[in-house]
Symmetry: C2
Subunit: 726 residues, 2 copies
């Protein structure tokens, strides 16, 4: 029995299920392709069972045929890890030993089987690439949920308020490090939120909005959190044995080489895509970013202008209704354009033709961060840094939006913008921040959790109805479950259900958290209850994400990771930005949105810039200090790493030198040496040896002789009472 068979119990020992969909292939071709698929799987030592699936698909169940095979794969993978520095110690050659001393987790097993299925043939895998090239009909490849574990997991989490490191270990052992990192990050972030939440609440009670003290506290908190997480990330990597795993690159199968070259070092033929050409393609990001900013910016700014016009200039009928028009417009337009731009960004990223999955993901993350930055924060930026300081200058130009209200206005006066005396609405910024940090979070939660559920239920109902209709119409296309053997029926029904579920991507959830962190550091000084709202939100988020993975998604393939990837840079960037916006907001609004002198016009440019300059540089100095302090702190991960290294070194030193590493030379036990004998011997040696060097070194033939000669010289040269003479 394999080491983790019990853990897979309830799933008929199935490691992976492959959905083979043949709805648009012709029969003969489909059969031939399918045969190839099965053959490829068998060739790497997988056992196979085929059953029929929903809607013209076959379900191929695979498991590793023999324990020996699996052990071999484990050993290979561990040796590779060792050679890349991920593991400190060379794995034992006796595979079985290394498996008993370091048992396989479910995640490791599933990862290895996934590797067997998907890695290229020349690396010893079956080379199956779902949805690509030869394997276009292979729709998906997924492991099965462990429902017993899932149930227990959700039960446990919904009754505890703080997750322990062991809870994260559980996730890692089941779903792999990539998913575990998301939960670890969110949990750390949640725990860290307690401080700004408490501080924000007191600050809201005592200090009011735009408090400099609160801004400083949040800034310090942000630096500490980001730097802490970097350490925590490393610590977890050591704990989970994945430190440096990102150095093991996996080639993207979509990578298209331009030329083949012989590697001067390894002598292997490598596929090359010139870096300069990629750089050229990357430069396309610039116009893209500009266009995206303009597109989103124009929409946001327009809706914003209309809204201001309607709410603060327009005084005709339907005002209360019309005022919501821009918000609705925005709610409809922004997601559409964002989807389009994200799609475009992905294309751009594809076009950049990255060689490895890591590089591809990193590049995509950057692009998505830029898009999210614009969609999420631009509106608030406009209010804070355009509307408030320049509002009274700009409002007269809002005439252009008269169009939007003209049909409803009763007379021109209702549309006329005031030429002077316009007062900015100082609560606008606060309302907008509250919208972003409370309403938008709730809407986001619903979009993420409730809508997909409803959609899926609806889809199911629709499918059932269709099947019913089809069954009534004629006997063709019988239900997939018709042929099931009774003892498998329940299991197969579950698998067919899981096959329809979407694939989980942790980076979407991470993105959400990063955007949230951004609101906190950039704008929470406007409304200090922001962290309280996020604290509550994230408690729920952690649990609902767990439930989402368990019930609404296919079980994710447990990929490894040694960090949350480039998002950490985004966090750092946001914290830095926060030091600028925080200072600017405090300066601009310290008198409730009216500037230090009561009117926004009296804001001093140099004072604002000086505030920003100091705030930013203090931020940088503090960051340096925090970084240094954290780098000097010890942590369980560091200790574990040191211990591992120490053991390896000790073993090698013992192997290399044994016990007799240093043997001291026996003191020569010669007859009593007198000055005369020494001189004599020196003279003798002059005769015996020939070279100058030899004669030089032969003068004193043991350390005792040297000591004696030295003593003689001291005797001769030293003044009688050296100390007094000094």
């Amino acid at each position: 029995m394999g080491p983790s068979v019990n853990a897979l119990h309830g799933n008929f020992d199935v490691d992976y299920v492959i959905t083979y969909r043949f709805h648009d292939t012709d029969k003969a071709e489909a059969s031939a392709d399918f045969k190839k698929l099965v053959q490829a799987l068998a060739s790497v030592g997988l056992a196979i069972e085929v059953r029929n699936g929903e809607n013209l698909a076959l379900l191929v169940f695979v498991k590793v045929a023999s324990d020996e095979r699996l052990n071999n794969a484990v050993y290979r993978s561990r040796v590779k890890d060792w050679l890349y520095g991920v593991r400190a110690a060379q794995p034992d050659r006796e595979t079985r030993n290394s498996l008993t001393s370091q048992p396989l987790t479910q995640a490791e097993r599933l990862r290895l089987v996934h590797h067997m299925i998907t890695s290229p043939r020349e690396e010893g895998g079956a080379g199956i690439t779902p949805g690509h090239g030869q394997w276009k009909s292979v729709e998906s490849l997924f492991p099965l949920h462990d429902h017993a574990f899932n149930k227990e997991w959700i039960m446990k989490w919904s009754t505890t308020s703080f997750l322990k490191i062991e809870d994260l270990d559980d996730i890692r052992n089941r779903f792999g490090e990539k998913v575990a990192y998301y939960f670890a990050f969110t949990q750390s972030y949640f725990a860290f939120l307690l401080f700004p939440a408490a501080f924000g609440f007191s600050s809201w009670l005592l200090l009011g909005h735009f408090s400099a003290i609160y801004a400083i506290a949040v800034g310090l908190w942000a630096v500490t959190f980001v730097e802490y997480w970097k350490r925590q990330e490393l610590d977890l990597a050591v704990r989970w044995g994945v430190k440096g795993v990102s150095a093991i690159h996996e080639k993207r199968r979509e990578f298209q080489h331009e030329q083949e070259a012989k590697d001067p070092i390894t002598g292997e033929t490598v596929q090359v895509f010139p870096a300069t050409k990629r750089l050229g393609r990357q430069l396309l990001q610039l116009p893209f970013a500009i266009i995206a900013t303009l597109a989103l910016g124009t929409i946001i700014a327009t809706c914003f202008g209309i809204e201001i016009f309607l709410s603060e200039v327009y005084s005709g009928p339907f005002k209360s209704v019309l005022v919501f028009v821009p918000t609705i417009l925005l709610t409809l337009l922004v997601p559409t354009i964002t989807t389009f731009l994200t799609e475009f960004a992905t294309r751009l990223n594809d076009y950049e033709n990255w060689e490895t999955t890591e590089a591809y993901d990193a590049a995509l993350t950057q692009k998505i961060f830029v898009l999210n930055f614009i969609t999420s924060y631009l509106g608030v930026f406009l209010t804070a840094f355009v509307y408030v300081p320049f509002g009274s200058l700009l409002v007269p130009y809002l005439d252009i939006f008269q169009l939007t209200a003209r049909p409803f206005a009763e007379n021109e006066k209702q549309l006329a913008t005031p030429k002077f005396g316009f007062e900015i609405n100082s609560s606008r910024l606060r309302n907008q921040v509250i919208y972003c940090t409370v309403t938008a979070q709730i809407v986001g939660f619903a979009m993420e959790n409730i809508v997909p559920y409803v959609k899926r239920r609806g889809f199911h109902k629709y499918q059932e109805m269709k099947a019913d209709r089809a069954a009534k119409k004629k006997g063709a296309n019988p239900s997939a479950a018709a042929d099931d053997s009774p003892e498998e029926a329940e299991f197969l029904a579950r698998v067919r259900n899981e096959a329809e579920l979407p694939v989980y991507d942790a980076s979407d959830d991470l993105r959400e958290m990063v955007v949230q962190f951004g609101y906190l550091v950039l704008f929470s000084v406007v409304w200090p209850l922001t962290p309280v709202s996020f604290l509550i939100n994230n408690w729920i988020e952690l649990r609902s994400d767990a439930a989402k993975i368990c019930f609404e998604m296919q079980r994710p393939t447990p990929f490894r990771a040694d960090s949350i990837g480039p998002w950490i840079d985004s966090l750092g960037f946001l914290a830095w930005m926060g030091s600028i916006t925080g200072a600017a907001l405090v300066y601009l609004f310290s008198n409730d949105g009216l500037g230090p002198d009561g009117t926004p016009a009296n804001i001093k440019g140099w004072a604002l810039l000086l505030t920003i300059f100091f705030s930013e540089h203090i931020y940088l100095v503090v960051r340096l200090c925090v970084r240094t302090a954290i780098s000097k702190m010890d942590s369980p991960g560091m200790q574990k790493e040191r211990a591992e290294r120490f053991i390896v070194r000790k073993r090698y030193f013992e192997e290399s030198f044994g016990e007799s590493a240093i043997e001291l030379p026996p003191p020569t036990d010669r007859e009593k040496i007198t000055r005369a004998t020494l001189e004599e011997e020196a003279r003798q040696s002059t005769l015996r040896t020939s070279s100058v060097e030899d004669r030089f070194w032969a003068r004193q033939r043991s350390w005792e002789e040297s000591a004696q000669i030295g003593a003689g010289l001291i005797e001769k040269m030293a003044p009688v009472e050296s100390k007094k003479q000094q």
Copy 2:
């Protein structure tokens, strides 16, 4: 014969010379101590010869007694390197093999012998710590110059204008990586200077002073140089096989532990000094920095004020003489105070009680950088950012300096500061920069090279005279050379001479280069010929430093290093500062020191700050881009590293898995399968096996069966003309 004996020819095969000075010890004690010294040396396998030295000293010559000893030390050191990741491949167990495949350089040999002499007894060394504790009388420990090489080196360098990488290799092989890094850095810097020198010269001709274009060019150049050097540093580390060597910490012998603790991991007793306590001590740096800044600042500002008063306010007699008083004051006071502060900084650093030499050096470098920053740049800062913008406001307060000129003044009018209409002297800043970048460099060169030479010659003369007098007076204290055997006489005279030379410290020279780089990036916009001056200076500097090491210094012990250490951070900091001061200088002085509108009073605070804000952030963005670009570039070092890693991996994979890494399962060759037989078999299996899982997996017993069943299902389920139905 050892592998590098020939290279040491001319030095009687001597590896190290130890000076044992007994001038203030009493005879018996000196003899006993000396015996211990010789015994300790012999116990680690060193051959010893003693001769008498100058001024109550003994010279102990040591060399490794046997090749076997040396090979053992080499092997140990190489295994340690491998375990710490410095070497990619495990050294061959056959030491002799590894020595022939990777021969010993002189530097490696000397480093190992030094390690044998100085490392603690528990690590297998003789534990000799010159000048410390038990070994107080051991004055110094130095290898002997290879005069043939030195001569050739100086000859070669003085006739070539560009050093090649092989020239640096030579230095590394003789003097070790620490010294080689200094030369490599200075050479890179020299080569890079060509661009700003050419640009600066044209800019001086065409654009005049304070050109924004020149400032931008220098800023870009600085970023590129710093980032390039970081890569170059790494490349050299790979080339010289020292990458990661700084991770091998050497315990400082001055380290004093507070408590002993059992390491939870290794079980060894370790000496601990609490980090919090050290942090407390480090906080003393803050008041120190403040006091140092105030002390130096006050002196510089006072002299500066006096100078302005005398040169621009005072109009009495002796003006032309008095004007030089502050400069002379400054020239006298600043070095004195700097020496005192450096001394104090070293004490502070000692007090911080660092555990390793690396940490100690890094902390000291930081402190010295701060001191140098103040002494070197504060004067120019005061002129640029206090005198020019606020000059007309401050000059009336210069009354306080009337005191300095009162004795010479004929009437009060000569001392009266103008109440208005005072015009700042716009060439003052330029003159000051020229002084710092030309005059000061020449003075520095003289101080560094000529003064020590003259001093040493004088000292020699004095010694000779003293010896003569002593000889005339009575026969005591005979000349050290009196007893020399004729064939050793010349050699011993040379050694006695080298024993008197000072010890070379590369970090002093590095500091000089960093300070120079600072002038370039911070202030060269004031006078664009600055880089031309530095270019010439550095050509000479490189050669004179080589000569200094060869003739004016003891041969340095070849320590290893994998970078220029914390100086790289100083360079980065200066480049960053440059982006601020450059922008500020251009804005303030773009109209020849009179601000954009012709008078310094018309400088706009917000415009200045905005210029700085943009300049700094553009700098940061450019730095990010350059860093990314360089990180993506390939280099010889990267290639070498990849190649080494590849070879190691390949070897291990071959060892671990042999040729039969993956064996494919033979396709089962069963009788023709029909649907009926399959069903039958399934039913059969139901009877034979018991568990549900087994029955599930036994349904299809080979991949051919699975393929066939799949084909059957496709046949059954697929619509007749699937494509049309879509």
